[in-house]
């Protein structure tokens, strides 16, 4: 946002400021305006059909006093942390592998990349079918271990959601890490090799520290992105069983579009924005200052 507002002033930073105008216009039209709209709606009562009535803090008290909010926050947090913890190590390992020069690497890279090309809804429908306790993979192949009530047991359902989300997004983060690893100058590795460092030692002492900013970028995308997981969970479990997988975004949808409570739904939207901003800022802090700093030699 800061970078978007600066070029709004005419010409001070040179004659290229106007180049940002289209982007700025889109940002205002599709991010700022809806955001303000949602904030205003959160102080109203509206069923989506009739008149919008101002109702002060009614929607806020209704949402904040509802135990459902804490539950949804907790589920969102759980999915966020678990999917981060699951995706990050695997993405780093895959990314490092893909950055190497092994045989068949290119072929494997294409295979790993496939999940990212599929739509979330298609992935959800496929997994739902595979995990069906009566007609799914386990029942079909007669493997007792796979015949679980995957999406019907609350704790299993959360696990499955985390797994499928990770399955979908690991390719993307692997790609980030692959790029990150490729940026690391070979000279550092060569020097380490001369000093007698093994592969594992080089991974921990060179690759990981050099990937610091990639990790922060990827983690920010994962964490903030996990706040908005909706389609996959909606199709796969619809927030169920009960409310075991009802994340904040799903809670917002259900209140807004199924229960016709646009006011409280807007409150949740505002909470989502605030949580997202807070997390993004927090991760920047942890990253230690400016992301544009470089750890590379000579930069």
């Amino acid at each position: 946002m800061t970078s978007a507002t600066a070029p709004g002033k005419k010409g001070r930073g040179g004659s290229l400021g106007w180049l940002a105008l289209p982007a700025l216009a889109f940002f205002v039209a599709f991010a700022v305006v809806p955001l303000v709209g949602v904030l205003l709606l959160s102080f109203t009562t509206w069923d989506g059909l009739g008149e919008i009535e101002l109702s002060g803090l009614d929607s806020w008290t209704a949402v904040l006093s509802n135990p459902g909010l804490m539950h949804s926050l907790w589920v969102t947090f759980l999915v966020m942390v678990l999917s981060w913890a699951f995706q990050t190590p695997l993405s780093i390992l895959l990314g490092v592998f893909l950055a190497g020069r092994q045989r068949y690497r290119a072929v494997l890279a294409v295979v790993y990349f496939i999940p990212l090309l599929l739509s979330s809804a298609a992935i959800a429908i496929t997994y739902k079918a595979l995990l069906d306790p009566n007609f799914g993979l386990g029942a079909g192949l007669k493997i007792p271990l796979l015949v679980q009530d995957w999406l019907g047991e609350p704790s299993l359902a959360v696990g499955v959601v985390v797994f499928v989300v990770s399955w979908q997004f690991i390719p993307f983060h692997s790609l980030l890490y692959q790029g990150g690893v490729r940026q690391i100058p070979r000279s550092i590795y060569e020097a380490a090799e001369l000093d007698g460092a093994g592969r594992v030692r080089m991974f921990w002492s060179i690759t990981m520290p050099q990937l610091k900013y990639t990790i922060i970028t990827s983690s920010t995308l994962m964490v903030v992105g996990s706040l908005t997981f909706f389609d996959l969970i909606y199709v796969m479990t619809a927030g169920g069983p009960g409310d075991a997988t009802r994340v904040l975004a799903l809670d917002m949808y259900k209140r807004g579009f199924q229960a016709n409570l646009m006011g409280p739904a807007s409150v949740i939207a505002v909470i989502l924005v605030l949580v997202g901003l807070f997390l993004a800022l927090l991760l920047r802090r942890i990253g230690g200052g400016n992301n544009s700093d470089s750890q590379l030699e000579g930069a």
Binding site: P133, N134, L151
Partner: protein, 435 residues
């Protein structure tokens, strides 16, 4: 900036899907005079709706209807959003009751009372009991159409032969059958629990059989603490007893009804019984191989509960589907819609086609058409239920306002997960009475 973009999109929208009636409507110049109609995309019903519309368009080339189809759950959200945004189709298809009431309160649908007075012949052909859910505060806002769909207890005769038992005649029989079926490796009941309204059908019958329609009527009439009625608590407790006894198929809470997976469990022999809407007959006939044609499917009304006050002829479900006219539509489109109501919507040909799907149209005397149908037994059974029912209650989630319905479905899902007790259910539900 948004304006030209929006205009461009609108242009795409009108020029794209008009192909079927394009040459017919070109005489009117703009081609925008037609009415629009959104409907559900599940076969075989979709086919009937499409053909009915096409017949109308053929007979009325100057004022045609343009249809768009949607999946059930997507439709429910889409139509509400579109109406709220003033983008509703001319013909608003729905289930009447609480959803219709919210449209009426927002002034989004036409009052059809006077139109029905002028066209008494149209009204007299349809079942009186179907008009209840179309009537809000004494005025009629929708025309009942398509079919009556009471909830029916389906069963697999082969499963009963296997354990050498008879279909249940009481709640006690049901509870006694559960361990027998489980011992034989067959789930007693199939259930698409993720859809939530499927669970609700059980409660609708238990409430009715134990206490009669008055128990839910008190909720509908917004009586304070209506869910605290001891009969309600008793029904909820019985429900959880059946769940705890493994009365339902393993993993029921992750099965959806939209995919018809619950019906598949019945016709593949994995489950012995299923409480479901009358519309399942047609889809099980289409998908279930020789399950229906081979005479393996049995059906009955929900059995009485010992000591219950409810009349065992009572039923619940959809007393019909409903079509309203958007108050925001152009006068020309409204005229086309009314003409559609008066002519093709439930014409004799349409009635025949609906009977052909294995369902009972909302038209009086439609049982005359049954004899020629290979589904005559089932059709007569449903017609009998619909005509003889002392009370034909509307599904709860359709009768209540969308806000209350969402809380209801949410709590029903938790009740079936055994994560709340009957008393907690009642307390949660009492909190939203009148909302």
């Amino acid at each position: 900036m948004g304006l030209p973009l929006g205009a461009a999109l609108a242009a795409c929208g009108t020029s794209g899907p008009t192909r079927p009636g394009a040459e017919a409507s070109s005489s009117s110049g703009a081609g925008a005079a037609g009415a629009t109609y959104w409907y559900l995309s599940v076969q075989p019903q979709e086919g009937v709706r499409t053909r009915t519309m096409e017949r109308f368009n053929k007979a009325n080339p100057t004022g045609t209807i343009k249809g768009t189809t949607f999946a059930n759950d997507a439709f429910k959200t889409k139509i509400k959003t579109a109406i709220g945004a003033g983008q509703a189709p001319t013909l608003i298809w729905g289930w009447g009751g609480g959803g219709l009431r919210s449209y009426v309160q927002a002034g989004q649908v036409e009052d059809l009372t006077s139109w029905f007075d002028e066209n008494a012949a149209v009204k007299d052909r349809l079942f009186d009991s179907s008009f209840g859910a179309a009537t809000i505060d004494g005025k009629i806002y929708a025309i009942p159409c398509e079919t009556m769909q009471p909830i029916v207890l389906y069963y697999d005769k082969r499963a009963f032969e296997k354990i050498n038992a008879k279909p249940p005649e009481s709640w006690g029989d049901i509870m006694a059958l559960v361990p027998k079926f489980n011992a034989a490796g067959i789930a007693p009941f199939s259930l698409g629990g993720q859809s939530r309204w499927t669970n609700m059908m059980w409660l609708e019958f238990l409430f009715d059989r134990i206490g009669g329609p008055e128990v839910f009527q008190a909720v509908f009439d917004e009586k304070k603490d209506a869910w605290n009625n001891p009969i309600a608590i008793d029904a909820l407790t019985k429900m959880q007893e059946l769940i705890k006894a493994d009365g339902f198929i393993k993993g029921f809470s992750s099965i959806t009804a939209d995919s018809n997976a619950d019906q598949a469990l019945l016709y593949t022999g994995k489950a012995a019984m299923m409480l479901h809407g009358g519309w399942c007959y047609g889809s099980m006939k289409a998908d279930g191989g020789d399950f229906v044609s081979g005479g393996h499917l049995g059906y009955m009304n929900f059995p009485p509960v010992e000591g219950g006050k409810g009349d065992p002829t009572n039923t619940v479900g959809n007393p019909g589907q409903y079509m309203s006219i958007s108050s925001k539509a152009t006068p020309e489109a409204k005229e086309i819609a009314k003409k559609f109501f008066a002519t093709e919507l439930m014409s004799d040909t349409a009635v025949k086609e609906w009977v052909g799907t294995g369902a009972v149209p909302v038209v009086k005397g439609s049982d005359k058409e049954f004899a020629a149908s290979e589904d005559a037994d089932f059709l007569n059974f449903v017609y009998g239920i619909a005509v003889n029912a002392k009370a034909f209650a509307q599904s709860w989630d359709q009768a209540l306002s969308p806000t209350a319905a969402e809380v209801l479905l949410d709590n029903i899902a938790k009740l079936f997960q055994l994560s709340i007790t009957p008393q907690e259910f009642a307390t949660n539900m009492n909190a939203v009475i009148g909302k």
